[in-house]
Amino acid sequence: MSLGKKLRNSQLWRSIFRHPAPLDRRNRVAVMLTNFVLHLHSVSAKKNSLRFSYTWGMGLITLYLFLVEVITGVLLMFYYRPTIECAYNDILALRDVVSFGVVREVHRWAAHAMVITVMLHMFRVFLTGSYKAPREFNWVIGVLLLVLTFLLSFTGYLLPMDQLSMWAITVGSNMARATPLVGHEGPGHQLLTLGGVDMITSRSDARLMLLGARTVGQEALNRFYVLHCVALPLVATFLVGLHLWRVRKDGGISGPVAVGDGRQTGAVGGEAS
């Protein structure tokens, strides 16, 4: 008996993996059904969904980049303190003092890359018409995930507390001043008065809710930190799960659907599975 076989037959191995090694067809099916991590997948997939020229691999890479962001983000949180006094110096230390000082680089470039891959993924899904029935709602979830990617990236932009971050967030959050009704420079804010007193001022409008103060400072840093590290990742994780689950339930990655209007596309069968 070879060492590999011995290992796989050991009590320890068999207690961890609920199936024999996936070496024959039966066990290749079993592994997908019984493994917690792998059960995100279906057991079998259309050959079309394996073609790079069809899928561009962008959804997969986006998911992978999200995982990279989670892991490097946790590593960065070990060193980073979200206060006006410490934030900038901690980033300096991450570059100059901490071993393997490219974790921040990986985190930042993976974030940029993720924005790009999300946009490319949307582009591909549009070009192949994959948002059409029965996948309409998964496209909606996808748009929400695109927005979440922007928000995650935007909230992270402030954390180094350098000139770049502070003024980028200032430019971005200034737009909230002009929110209709609830921004203190927005259309219709004059309408919200109580006994002749304006309800919407620079101390009580949408921008203040975002920043916690009238300028970008400690309060904004705290809010963005919590949003970036806790709130938004939780929402994103839930929606990613929903998105992937819907991909499976809606019949896997899309393929040609024949239309019964005389112009056969040559596809066999629909997408119901």
């Binding site: 259309k46 990279v68 946009m119 935007f154 932009y157 502070m166 393929g255």
Partner: protein
């Protein structure tokens, strides 16, 4: 880390580029050799192989020249002509004309001989332009590097998608199914899919680590509320919104339009009544949807990001690609409202004023009278135009979609078209607002 040469003098700058540029050209030469091999082995096209071999040799020669300190340099007159020709109007209209040409000529443009040559030309221009300090400084800012990558990725994937669409459209015309229909066999996810995922993860990791080792993440001076950088830029993916602030009231550019973009994107599956083109690349079977999406995605969204990233400099002035970022560049900042055009310029009378003591209905009446031209125009654009279109050019679409869907679709579409319209009106006629009611902080 990449050691970018200092910009003390133009000669010193070019000399310092010798190494990086030399390797760049050699890399492009290697790319062409790869293309030659692909043409011979997979496409079995001698012609293509010969052309790519020649181009590869030319790039290798350029690499040698660059390494010996004589890189290819763009002549000054060409750079000046480029800077002079590239204003916001020509840039935007040129990009849109490019989209139209791409749509009409897609059958020719996706041919490997054409598209690979276009790639070579763009890489050559890129290399030659890097010898210009102003161009190099803009392109090599750490946060701008991903955008350069994005441009090439978008070009590649637009080509990849359209090339497959062209091929499918030909097959569909001949009564065959799309290429995708030949891949409906199923395979087991273990090992085929799982291994692809593993390989994808490894490739992505290698790219990320190399990128991180080469280019440090930007870190500027500590945040200082007293020193405003000029220009203050939003993160690159929001530069489209920042650019829209020039043409719209902040409430519209920063809140209303982004909300409509998100809602409009979500609404796409429910507004597209076309059952064809599901699950395969095609243009012919969904021309309208295809054209609208490419216009909105590439022609507006990406274009505005590019303008904001590469063309906007101090004071948010528009700069050509080779133009020094001069903070004292003078730009006309006249902004004229439509009501001023209407009353003062065309009718030769004063713009009606709202007396300070007037209140309630009287004030509203005067405001509406003052804005009569803009209100009429807005009404014609958003109400009359769609109604007319529903009975003429878009009649079939209106019937297929039903009333609610048609109106939702057409209003979102007109909103989207309002952006380029207002951009061009602003640049050519200095028009700021169609309807402007500062009394209620409302501007359109």
């Amino acid at each position: 880390m990449i050691d970018w040469p200092h910009y003390a003098s133009e000669e010193g700058f070019v000399a310092g580029l010798a190494g990086p540029l030399g390797w760049y050209y050699l890399g492009v030469a290697a790319l062409n050799l790869g293309a030659m091999w692909y043409a011979l082995r997979r496409r079995r096209s001698r012609l293509e192989a010969v052309v790519w071999a020649l181009m590869g040799m030319a790039f290798a020669g350029l690499g040698g020249l660059a390494m010996s300190g004589h890189p290819l340099v763009l002549p000054e007159w060409l750079k000046d002509a480029c800077d002079r020709a590239l204003g916001p109007v020509t840039f935007t209209l040129g990009a849109m004309a490019g989209l139209v040409i791409f749509y009409l000529g897609r059958r020719v443009l996706v041919q490997p001989l054409v598209s690979w040559t276009a790639l070579n030309v763009s890489l050559l221009l890129m290399g030659a332009s890097m010898t210009d300090p102003d161009f190099a400084r803009t392109v090599s800012r750490p946060d701008n590097v991903p955008i350069v990558g994005m441009v090439y990725l978008l070009a590649f994937f637009t080509w990849l998608g359209t090339a497959q669409a062209v091929r499918n459209d030909e097959r569909l015309r001949r009564g065959q199914g799309p290429v995708e229909a030949g891949f409906t066999d199923k395979v087991l996810v273990w090992p085929d899919v799982v291994y692809i995922e593993l390989i994808g993860a490894i490739v992505a990791t290698v790219v990320l680590v190399v990128w991180s080792l080469l280019i440090p993440a930007p870190l500027e001076e500590p945040a200082n509320p007293a020193v405003t950088p000029n220009p203050s830029k939003a993160p690159w993916y929001f530069l489209g919104l920042q650019e829209m602030l020039l043409y719209f009231d902040p409430a519209v550019a920063g809140v209303v339009l982004p909300a409509l973009i998100i809602l409009g994107l979500m609404a796409i599956p429910y507004l597209d009544p076309n059952p064809r083109g599901s699950g395969y690349y095609t243009v012919d079977q969904r021309r309208f949807g295809w054209a609208v999406f490419l216009f909105g995605f590439l022609g507006l969204w990406i274009l505005l990001i590019l303008i904001g990233t590469f063309m906007r400099g101090p004071n948010w002035s528009f700069f050509g690609p080779y133009e020094p970022r001069d903070p004292h560049k003078i730009a006309a900042a006249t902004n004229i409202k439509l009501c001023e055009y209407f009353w003062a310029v065309w009718l030769g009378r004063g713009v009606p004023r709202v007396p300070p003591e007037s209140g309630g209905l009287q004030k509203l009446g005067i405001i509406l009278w003052r804005e009569i031209a803009g209100l009429t125009l807005t009404c014609a654009y958003f109400v009359v135009l769609p109604a007319v279109l529903a009975r003429t050019a878009l009649r079939r679409m209106r019937q297929a979609m039903g009333r609610a869907r048609y109106w939702l679709m057409i209003l979102l579409l007109l909103m989207m078209l309002m952006l380029p319209l207002k951009m061009i009106l602003n640049w050519t006629a200095h028009l700021s607002y169609i309807v402007s009611i500062p009394e209620y902080s409302f501007n359109l």
